[in-house]
């Protein structure tokens, strides 16, 4: 107790030096701890999401891009496939096929066009409002609703695909039909619309005044039987309302509509194997991936990077230990006369050593506790960091 008191008084009197030592230890321990916790959280999240998604179909190309897009709605989607490809998959009768079109965003939050089957597949339920019912409706993920301050009945505009392309897709005002329950996944940070609404956002479907009865002659270039050609002055509706919903239509066949990816949920392993076998040929327009395998491959790459990081941590820890040894050696040298006086007065050399050890232990424990506290805070913030990482 007395040694503890002396150790405390010494550290209190030399609080600057003590604070630097504590900070050194805390930072040295915190950095690898944080990286470890973050990677653990990251791996867990990826593995869970991937293993909960049996198969992903999409255009041939980077399997990493396609998987990340289908699981996390990355803002840079791979090449699109056609709705006809999705119908072909369905026609195999080897599982439920859920199309996704996640090419667009609203205030940088991905807008995911899909079908109601997606909500059943991901066990997503509506906590406020109602589910998708009309063209132009959206349901908002829990975190996205908090970030954008949205409640059912509000409206949000989609982002233009390219701000420099004035002739590109027009923003569409979406009506918030409902807010989803928190799921702890990427679905919390997305806005969901019906896939047809996604095609309207893409400009493939649109609504405008009836040119037979409502459009002025100024916008009509040519009338020929049922075929009417209008000029660019014809205004498209930027919001789908009960009044104008009937004016919305699509140019082109449904089979030609774009889909960025599809989730395939076979009823059993055999169906999955059969389906993958059928789409393995070079001629196949699609690739069918097992997200769990792709994520495992990505994590193996990540582990290699972590080995480099671990080596760096060992070097940093080594240099910190050397720094601590230097500081302790200098400190002992400075305290030489004090320790000598203690010995002269009747203090055992072991007691003096215990005093110094106690000080060192107190600094170490404080530094490690600080690192743990910072690590715990990081774990709390990990979902946000994870989101930031997966959104880039």
């Amino acid at each position: 107790m007395r040694s503890l008191f002396l150790a405390w008084r010494y550290m209190a009197a030399h609080r600057g030096k003590t604070a630097i030592l504590v900070a050194c230890i805390a930072l040295t321990a915190y950095l690898p701890l944080t990286v470890h916790l973050l990677l653990q959280e990251f791996e867990q999240d990826w593995t869970q999401r991937a293993s909960a998604t049996p198969l992903v179909a999409g255009a041939k190309g980077s399997r990493f891009d396609l998987t990340l897009h289908a699981l996390y709605f990355q803002t840079q989607p791979p090449e699109t496939i056609l709705m006809g490809d999705v119908e072909n998959l369905r026609s195999q009768r080897l599982g439920t096929v859920i199309p996704l079109n996640a090419r667009y965003s609203t205030q940088n939050i991905p807008v995911v066009g899909t079908t109601l089957a997606y909500f059943d597949f991901r066990n997503l339920s509506v906590r406020e409002g109602e589910s998708l019912a009309l063209l132009g409706d959206c349901v908002v993920g829990y975190i996205a609703s908090r970030e954008l301050g949205l409640t059912p009945g509000d409206g949000i505009l989609t982002d233009p695909e390219n701000v420099f392309d004035v002739a590109g897709t027009q923003p569409l005002r979406l009506r918030v039909a409902g807010i989803l329950d928190e799921s702890g996944t990427a679905d919390d940070n997305a806005v969901f619309v019906d896939i047809k609404t996604a095609w309207v956002i893409a400009g493939i479907g649109h609504g405008h005044a009836d040119m037979k009865t409502e459009a002025s002659d100024d916008v009509v270039l040519n009338r020929e039987n049922n075929r009417i050609v209008a000029n660019a002055a014809l205004e498209n509706h930027i919001e789908i309302t009960p009044e104008n919903v009937t004016s919305f239509h699509f140019h082109g066949e449904r089979e030609e509509m774009p889909v960025t990816a599809a989730i395939v949920v076979p009823p059993d392993d055999k169906s999955a194997v059969l389906l993958r076998g059928r789409y393995q040929s070079r001629d196949s327009p699609l690739q069918l991936l097992v997200p769990g395998d792709v994520v495992d491959e990505m994590l193996r790459l990540l582990l290699r990077a972590r080995a480099v990081l671990d080596a760096n941590v060992i070097l940093v820890a080594g240099s910190t230990i050397l720094f601590l040894i230097l500081v302790i050696a200098l400190s002992l040298k400075l305290r030489g006369s004090e320790l000598e006086i203690m010995f002269h007065l009747g203090c055992a050399r072991l007691t003096a050593a215990r005093l110094v050890t106690l000080e060192l232990a107190a600094v170490l424990i404080t530094g490690l506790l600080l690192a743990l506290a910072l690590g715990a805070a990081t774990v709390q913030l990990a979902p946000l960091l994870l989101k930031a990482l997966t959104q880039t």
Partner: protein
């Protein structure tokens, strides 16, 4: 252990002590100091005055001969026993005060109690510390860091520390060496006054010949030292 109230006699016989590295040798054939007496040790620098104090304190062990304090023969004790002897029997006052700069004046006075469990720190000891400080005129400075005290005040704190465990012998190594003439006289008076109260034997190394008349015995060291 000798009774503090009676002080302790010091008896040295046929003492030989050699520093291995320097070849310095100290030889004392016979020295006897009565309990409660005051001995001044003088001599030029490097003649072995401090070594003598360390031999009496049991910090050094002679190569030959005996050092007896009271009924205890230090040369027969092991290190742990000599440490216990020091903490309970010897009070030290140093020229440079040797206070612990991260403790305040009160904590410095109690310092012997912090470093050896042979001494029990209780309310009586704390009260005694306050009384000693009061007697030394530093009662109002007990909570102050020793780095913020004057030289005279610091030496008073050092004397309080030396006296707190009621030692049988007080070993002082040039206790007035760093003090001005006014403080010098005051400090030596306080030292003797408080030592007399417990009957402690005082051995004081000094270069100051003005102080010698205050001692009962004077030992001049050049005659005791031999150098190869």
């Amino acid at each position: 252990m000798p009774s503090p109230e009676n002080g302790a006699s010091i008896r040295i016989e046929n003492l030989r002590f050699v520093y291995d590295q320097s070849g310095f040798e100290l030889a004392i054939d016979e020295l006897e100091l009565g309990s409660g007496s005051r001995l001044a040790v003088t001599g030029p620098s490097g003649c072995g005055k401090t070594t003598f104090l360390r031999l009496v304190a049991g910090i050094h062990v002679p190569a030959k001969g005996t050092v007896r304090v009271g009924h205890q023969e230090l040369s027969r004790m092991n290190e742990a026993a000599r440490r216990r002897f020091r903490i309970s029997t010897v009070g030290f006052v140093f020229q440079d005060f040797e206070l612990i700069d991260y403790l305040n004046a009160h904590e410095n006075i109690l310092f012997p109690y912090y470093i050896n469990s042979a001494l029990v720190l209780d309310a009586n000891v704390r009260r005694r510390a306050s009384e000693l400080a009061n007697r030394m005129g530093i009662a109002d400075k007990l909570r102050r860091s020793v780095t913020r005290l004057s030289q005279g005040e610091r030496q008073r704190v050092a004397i309080c520390r030396a006296l707190i465990a009621k030692p049988c012998i007080l070993l002082c190594d040039e206790p007035t060496g760093n003090l001005d003439p006014e403080n010098k006289s005051l400090i030596i008076d306080m030292l003797f006054e408080n030592a007399a109260e417990t009957g402690a034997t005082v051995v004081c190394v000094t270069h100051d010949h003005e102080l010698l008349p205050r001692f009962e015995q004077i030992m001049d060291f050049p005659s005791l030292r031999t150098t190869e």
